[in-house]
Amino acid sequence: MRLEKRAQNSAIALALAPVGALAFTLLVSALLVLWAGAPVGQAYGLLLKGGFGSVFALSETLTRAIPLTLTGLAATVAFKARLFNIGAEGQLYVGALAAVAVGGLHGGSGLALPTPLLFVLMMTAAALAGALLLLGPALMKARLGVDEVVTTLLLNFIVLLFVSLMLDGPMKDPGAMGWPQSVALQDELTLSKLIAQTRVHTGLLWAWTLAVIVWALMRFSVQGFNIRALGANSRAAKFAGVPVTRTVVLVAMLSGALAGLAGAIEVAGRTGYLTLDMSPGYGYTGIVIAMLAVLHPLGVVFASVFVAGVLVGADSMSRAVGVPTYIADVIVAASLISVLVATSLTQYRIRWK
């Protein structure tokens, strides 16, 4: 068996690829549900209901989608330029840490600045912290050819340990009964709720606005062209005059800033303070979302809602029919693989023998 490049790509195949991928994913996951001894139809029904079936379910899904949209965008921007930023998790945490450092109630008071100014300062600090964290690996890649997959991945662990140090040390909340937890954010700095009685907050609008901005930037700006050109063919981009180092730095700053904002918005919108288990791997899931969205910034909006819905829905489904919540990870992973295979099949055909 081998792959042969298709002479032309049919538009219908391109449109049907995600549908087919989803169908295949559900089929594969159904086998696992069956194996766990639960009725497939009911399990999927519960999953759908738990993720999207009520205002509450939808609000939970959207709440979960907020950080995922931002880390998904971070991965999208970086991957478009072939800068494989696996460090969004770490950038998210330094962003959250910077947000708390600027906007936290240190000693019960915090910085005495007007709220709007402090809010802008907090978000800027978070974005900058994420950006600076990625700058090192990006420069090392551009100048010395150091593999950024390794450096960004390993930085995640260093950052987590650093956050742990801060949460047990200078930034520890004295009123948290000894738990490693940061001081709380000033109340005026927290994001307001979008829907009363739910957890979904205005961070959703931030995330979606940023998705549109990133899309416009990538599509219509010179820098966006530079990024796409560099990712598609670095030699040709260099020949055409794309400033390679400058573009890599820009991509790193943008990607790191988006991941840093994810951390700040999570603190300001959902938790109010920082703990070491704030992110259940949002940084890594962002990579999956970027791939599911085939590196399209607007696709990230939908992919993150899909993934968040599966994660939230699987929680309630597992409680009802006794399928482990890990089924959510399986579904997300299977859908990623299916989408990758389906999109390749639109460009290649399989020849048996």
Binding site: E4, R6, A7, Q8, F220, S221, V222, Q223, F225, R228, A229, A232, N233, R235, A236, A237, K238, F239, A240, G241, V242, P243, R351, K353
Partner: protein, 528 residues
């Protein structure tokens, strides 16, 4: 007539609506060289890929040595005694010749490789066919000609009795080509059969006994080499009579545009080593040489992608800027060697590729945002002016054929961004501009270069194709190991002298010719 060693019957292969091979039947006999002649895109590569099992034919079948050859199975092709020497070598640079030859033919399940046995067999094969090579040498240290020999040895080592050579002379000096032809005739004399793929008419007649001509997927003619002529072959190949390439000497050579003085680049795989050259308005200076001798460094230097480490480069009397965008703004038109990998960004649409070099300029962007309408209009102008045929400005550039891709690159380099401006570029740097193009496209590109020269551009043409160098060049210099011979009028060079200079005897020749008083004054040009 004896039975054929290879028999292709009614081979048909379609890619979508394109019929790459249309009902081709062909036979190969023991002890002959069959040349497969055709333009790029005529279906030569497809046919060979089917033969070697890389593609499966939609119809037809193949017999090798009177046994049917299973379709789509490269291993079966190897086992049947079919060997292939690709144009781009498939050798590991960091391994020795012996390792490269053994690679893939040893079983994975035996605990140790049998090097002693393999060495003996390799030396035996090498001796039998007159292919001398050092079995212990690392491939990375070998010349291109030697690497090609290793590729041939690899095929013979595996017991190939039918050898397919894909454009084997494209990378060789004239002398190396002659050596290759000698090896081929020795192999044929020992009963091997060879399929020689080429689009060079002269060498096809020189090396083969029979010629099969493909055009647009069809086998249009077969002839004995002794009974046909170059012009006949060319007519079959392109379907119409062609005027043989003619020299169009420069008429108005003006002031110096670009001067290289003792320029070196930092050591790398290839480099420039104290090269000096002057390019004048209205002339084409052609650089001949075996590829890999510094042509890339020279082209990149003038394209703004590689800095000089010593010496000076001036453009219009000022130091040459280092950035591609600045060069383009100053009127340097750049045509890179590898149009697929360097010339265009295949995944991006035509229109973005058309403006890629000038996107940083005010014409096509404002406040960091692309002026889409202006960019699109410019792309349309390039497409129209240079007859770029494809699926339109929004199609990805990789969908273009090689010829149309080159027209796009040529077009964006030569079409001025302001609509009414008729300004020609000051300097054109063309590196292998016609490589791999079909005859029609070659002719088109060459005419464009000549037209630009006549309009006052200084043209630097770097080419591996000696015919092109001698036909287009008003002056010719030879590059070897990063050093340039003095540029002399094209007619002052004999083929032998160029061949020797390409092999590294350039200095002596340059001095000898300087002694003969070769200059570039107008009288000589007129006599050219």
């Amino acid at each position: 007539m004896p039975a054929p060693v290879l028999k292709l019957s009614h081979i048909t292969k379609r890619f979508g609506s394109l019929t790459a091979n249309d009902d081709i039947s062909l036979e190969l006999y023991a002890g002959e060289v069959l040349a497969l002649l055709g333009e790029n895109g005529a279906g030569k590569s497809t046919l060979v890929s089917i033969l070697f099992g890389h593609y499966t034919a939609d119809a037809g079948h193949i017999e090798a040595f009177a046994k049917p050859l299973p379709a789509g199975d490269p291993k079966a092709a190897l086992a049947a005694g079919i060997g292939m020497v690709h144009q781009h070598f498939t050798l590991a640079d960091n391994l020795s010749v012996l390792d490269n030859v053994m690679m893939g033919s040893e079983s994975l399940w035996q605990p140790f490789t049998r090097r002693g046995k393999a060495r003996a067999k390799l030396l035996d094969v090498a001796k039998r066919f007159g292919l001398s090579v050092d079995a212990n040498a690392r491939v990375g240290t070998l010349s291109v000609g030697e690497r090609q020999r290793v590729e041939i040895l690899k095929a013979l080592y595996r017991g190939a009795r039918i050898l397919i050579l894909d454009e084997p002379t494209a990378v060789l000096t004239p002398q190396e080509s002659e050596a290759l032809f000698a090896v081929l005739s020795q192999m044929v004399a020992q009963g091997l059969s060879i399929i020689f793929i080429s689009h060079k008419l002269g060498e096809v007649l020189r090396v083969s006994q029979r010629v099969a001509v493909l055009r647009a997927g069809e086998l249009v003619a077969q002839a004995r080499a002794s009974e046909t002529t170059q012009s006949q072959l060319a007519q079959w190949m392109v379907g119409r009579a062609l005027n043989p390439a003619q020299r169009h000497p420069a008429q108005n050579v003006g002031e110096a545009v670009c001067v290289l003085d003792q320029v070196s680049t930092a050591p790398a795989r290839e480099r420039l080593n104290e090269a000096s050259l002057t390019l004048h308005r209205g002339e084409i200076v052609a650089i001949a040489g075996v590829s890999g001798n510094g042509q890339g460094a020279l082209a990149q230097l003038l394209c703004g992608t590689r800095p000089a480490s010593a010496g000076t480069v001036t453009l219009m009397g000022r130091a040459l800027p280092q950035k591609p965008a600045q060069l383009v703004a100053l009127g340097v038109a750049r045509i890179p060697e590898d149009r697929h990998e360097v010339g265009v960004i295949g995944d991006l649409p035509l229109w973005e590729n058309a403006v890629a070099e000038r996107l940083q300029s005010r014409t096509f962007s404002r406040f960091g945002w692309v002026r889409r309408r202006a960019a699109y209009a410019y792309a349309q102008r390039v497409i129209e002016a240079f007859d770029v045929r494809g699926a339109g400005a929004d199609a990805p550039a990789r969908s273009l054929s090689g010829g149309n891709m080159q027209k796009l690159i040529l077009g964006r380099a030569l079409v001025h961004p302001q609509r009414d401006a008729t300004a020609t570029p000051k300097l054109i740097v063309a590196h292998q501009p016609t490589w791999g193009l079909d005859i029609g496209a070659v002719d088109y590109v060459q005419r464009q270069l000549i037209a630009a020269r006549d309009a006052g551009a200084a043209v630097l043409l770097i080419s591996d194709d000696l015919d092109e160098v001698l036909t287009l060049g008003d002056r010719v210099a030879v590059i070897h190991d990063g050093q340039l011979t003095p540029a002399r009028p094209a007619l002052a060079w004999s083929r032998e002298a160029i061949g020797l200079a390409m092999a590294g005897a350039g200095k002596a020749i340059g001095q000898a010719m300087a002694g003969a008083g070769a200059g570039i004054d107008e009288n000589e040009r007129a006599s050219a």
